[in-house]
Each structure stands twice: as C-alpha cells, then as structure tokens.
Point group: C3
Chain length 206, copies 3
Amino acid sequence: MAALASTLTVLDYAAVAVFGASGALAAARRHHDIITFGFFAAVTGVGGGTLRDLLIGAPVFWVARPDYIAVCLVGALAIWVFGWGQGRERLLLWLDAVGMAAYAVVGALKAVSLGVPPLSAVIMGVLTATFGGVIRDVLAHEPSVLLRRELYVTPALAGAAVFVGLDAMDVSTIVAGAMGFVTAFTIRAGALLFGWRMPGFPGRAT
Amino acid sequence: MAALASTLTVLDYAAVAVFGASGALAAARRHHDIITFGFFAAVTGVGGGTLRDLLIGAPVFWVARPDYIAVCLVGALAIWVFGWGQGRERLLLWLDAVGMAAYAVVGALKAVSLGVPPLSAVIMGVLTATFGGVIRDVLAHEPSVLLRRELYVTPALAGAAVFVGLDAMDVSTIVAGAMGFVTAFTIRAGALLFGWRMPGFPGRAT
Amino acid sequence: MAALASTLTVLDYAAVAVFGASGALAAARRHHDIITFGFFAAVTGVGGGTLRDLLIGAPVFWVARPDYIAVCLVGALAIWVFGWGQGRERLLLWLDAVGMAAYAVVGALKAVSLGVPPLSAVIMGVLTATFGGVIRDVLAHEPSVLLRRELYVTPALAGAAVFVGLDAMDVSTIVAGAMGFVTAFTIRAGALLFGWRMPGFPGRAT
C-alpha cells in the first residue's frame, strides 16, 4: 500500500502539473500576461479534482495543501520563461494522456475510499480526469474538449470503470489501479496514434 | 403526505429523464458518440439539483443514489437507439415544461424542508429547474436558454414563489405544491402556445 | 474591530450591489426582460463569494441571509426603471473597481479567519473579486473578463496578497485590509486611467 500511495502521489502531482501546463498554453495562444497564465494553469490543474471533492462532500484537496497550486504556477512560469510548449504540442498531448489516465484512477479511488457507490465513483473518476480541461475551455470561450469527436471522455470512463469493477471484485488496489491506468492510457493512445473514435450518432440530427 | 411523496418522487425521476433526454439531443445535433450522449444527458439531468444541494449544504442527491444517473443514461441510450426525439422536438418541449415545473416545486420544497429562508428557497427552485439546461448550453458552447427572450426562468420563478408563499401561509404541502406546479406549467404553456413574453428592457442598450 | 467590521459590511453590500448592477447591464445590452435582469444581477453579485464559500467549506453566505440577493435585485430594478447605467459605463467601471478591491480583501479575510493557508487565502480573495464577473460573461456567452488584456485579476491578486502578507506579519486587520484595498484599487485605477497592462506572452503562440 505504501508503494501504491507514493506512486499515486507522484501521479497526482504529475497530473496537476501537466493539466496546469495545458491551461497555461491556452493562455499563451492569446498572448496573455503572466497572471492570466497562472490563473488558467491553476483552474485547469485542480478544476476536475475540485468538482469531485465538492460532489462527494470532501474538503477540497488543495485548499489546505496549496502546494498543488504552487505546482501549477511553477508549470505556468516554466512555459512563460522558456517558451516551453511551442512546437511541443505533441509531447504535451502525451503527458496529458498520462495525467488523464492517472486522474481517472485517483478520482475514482478517492470516491470509493469514501464509500461512494460504484456508478458514482466511476463518474468521479471521469469528472476528475476531464473537467479541468472543460473549465479551461469554457473560460477561454472555446468549444470544449467534450465537443471534439476524438476519444477523451471515453478512455477516462473505461479506466475508471475497470478500476472500480476490479476493486469491487476485491482485486488489490494496486493491481486494479494499474489496470485502470493502462486501460485509459491505451485507449487514449489509440486515439492519438491511430485516430480511434467511436461511431457518431447515426440519426438525422435536428 | 405519502401520496405527495410518491408523486414527487415520480415527478423527480420524470424530470431527470426529460432533462437528460434534452441533453442527449444537444449532443445528437453534432453527431457525437454514445459516451458524449451520456455525459450531456447526466450533466443536464442532474445539474440543477446538484447546484441546489451544493448551495444549501446538503449531500448531492445522486452521489449516494446513482439510479438518477442511470435514468439519464437509459434516456440517452433510447434516443441513440431509436433515433427518438427527431421530429419530436415539440413533444420534448412539452415534457421539458413538465420537468421544469416539477423541479421548481421540488427544488424549493427541499430547501424549505432544510430551513432555508423563503427568498433563498425560491431561488433554489429556480436554479433546480433551469440550471441543468444552462450547464448543457454552456458545455455545448451555445447561447444558453437564459439568453432567449421566451419565458423560461419566469415560470420557474412564479411556480417556486407560489409554492413557497402558500407553504409559508401553512397551506398543506400537497396543495401548495400542486398550485406551484400548475402556475409554472401554465405560464410555460402560454409561452409555447401563444408566444407569451415579458417586455424587454426599453432603454437604449449600450 | 467593530469599526472594521461595519466598514467591511458596508463594503460587502456595496460590492454586491455594484457587481449586481454590472450583471443587470449585461442583460440590458440584449434587451432582456426584468426577470433575466434579476437573474444576471444575482449571479454576478454573489457568484464570487459563493464559489469561495463552497471551496473553503463554509455555508454559502447568502443562503441564510438572502438580503444580499435582495440588494442585487433592487440594483437590477433601479437600472430597469431609471435606465440608469446608460452613458454611465465609466462611473460603473469605477464602482466596479471599488467592489473588486473590497471583495479581494473581504474574500481573503474570510478564508484567513477560517484557518485557510496563506496561498489559498490569496486565491479566495482573487476568486471572490473576479468570479462573479466571469460567471456573468460565461452565462452571457461572451469572452470573459479574464481574456481581456486589461488588468483585472492582477489588482485583485496584488490586493489579496498584500492583505494576507501583512496579516501574517501580525499587522492589525484594519491596517492590513486598508493596505490591501488601496493596493488593489490603485492598480485597477492605473489600468483605467493610464491603460496600465502587463507584458503579454512574448513567445510564438501556437
């Protein structure tokens, strides 16, 4: 469990940093100032987990531990100073895939550990993994990642469902978490590498 | 009270299903995949009640009872499989009116029962009835229902105010709820049938 | 402390009224009806403080004291009836600057008084000061104030940081609050009068 806990902690901070960087890059696209960089980095980095904690009635994770915010701000500063991220969107997409897969498991794990029923726990995984990016896009007044046809919610959902399902079958947390992570990451990787997508609504749209 | 409670429960699930369907239809318009259908259905179906519960400090209603989410997902699946909803926008508008009127009363009732002051209870009714649709529109990157001139917030406000007012005068909950529901539904029906609207701001807009 | 408390209360209501008015003006721009005026006024007026209270786990301030909402509605009604605000955008910008500076301090003070760590308390000041306007813009389907290059988040951040920093050095609350208010207001005034802005991201945006 100790190894799991520290792995999860590392994944947690890594996911916050990566999502924070993607928020800062959204600000970079419009040549915003450093404060706006930081604002977008923080909102994107902790937004999904914040929503999860509000919904399950847990104290919001970063309020008592603002080092999570500091991680976002350092990420934003790095992008500002080094111009990091330019021409590296591809790398960022892959880091984002790692963050998303980690958050899908971590979000569901926190919910399960607080006694949330399985379906709701899966949803918490999905929201933790995806809502930071959704809030980033809404605040940037851009169509959200939800509206793109590429697979993003789907891998988060699959990863969270695999984790919660295995956990309910008394598989050890570390194995269930690893399986959930691999599931989410693999599907997302398929989307990035091979353009995997789900069939769209076949009916006549109105 | 038992009859009221079961009537309210039926209205509650019906409202969730109808709002969920309207969320799925928003996704259908852009030919999204089944996962996005489900995401929009769930957000729209439970969004208003979620905001209410967060504001009044109650446990978010669907987290411990995810059958509400399941109802949304079944609704989304039905629309996907049967193409239901196409050419039936009119029917959906009427079902939506029933859902809105039910939520205005149910939302205010929950607030009143937790000791929330009357004005705030009315607001909880309005938010429960309207915010699922607002969140749906924001996430779909479309102008929200708030921005249309047709009456939508107004009937919810009137219904919730009638309910809270009668309840404060010790009218029985079932009568107050019925009056609130009829008020909200009638005004909305007038908007749908006869184009009722309130006068717009007469001043020179800036 | 009593003088501080009453000063803060006055600033608090004043900030709610001013932000409420800015919400109503957003509705005025599209000739909405009086209910939509009130809706936007309330959301804008109390939105930032609502988010703060949710994040720090405090009861949402206006739910038990809906006179805050009443203040917003009276402000919206005044704009409707008197056409107030037309040709007075400049006055409103200055009132908004007062409200923003007040909220940056009040928001941070509430967080500090509940034992929130300094960095998180600064963020609560920023969110209280700015998020009502952000929600207003998102609901009005307009690019949010965050996306404008003029200084808005920056003065709120500076004011909240000055207050929290002085407070942590055991400066009396009234002095720390006054310094924070003056800092925020001065920077915002510089932006309004002289077009102060921060340098934008110098890199090649993607």
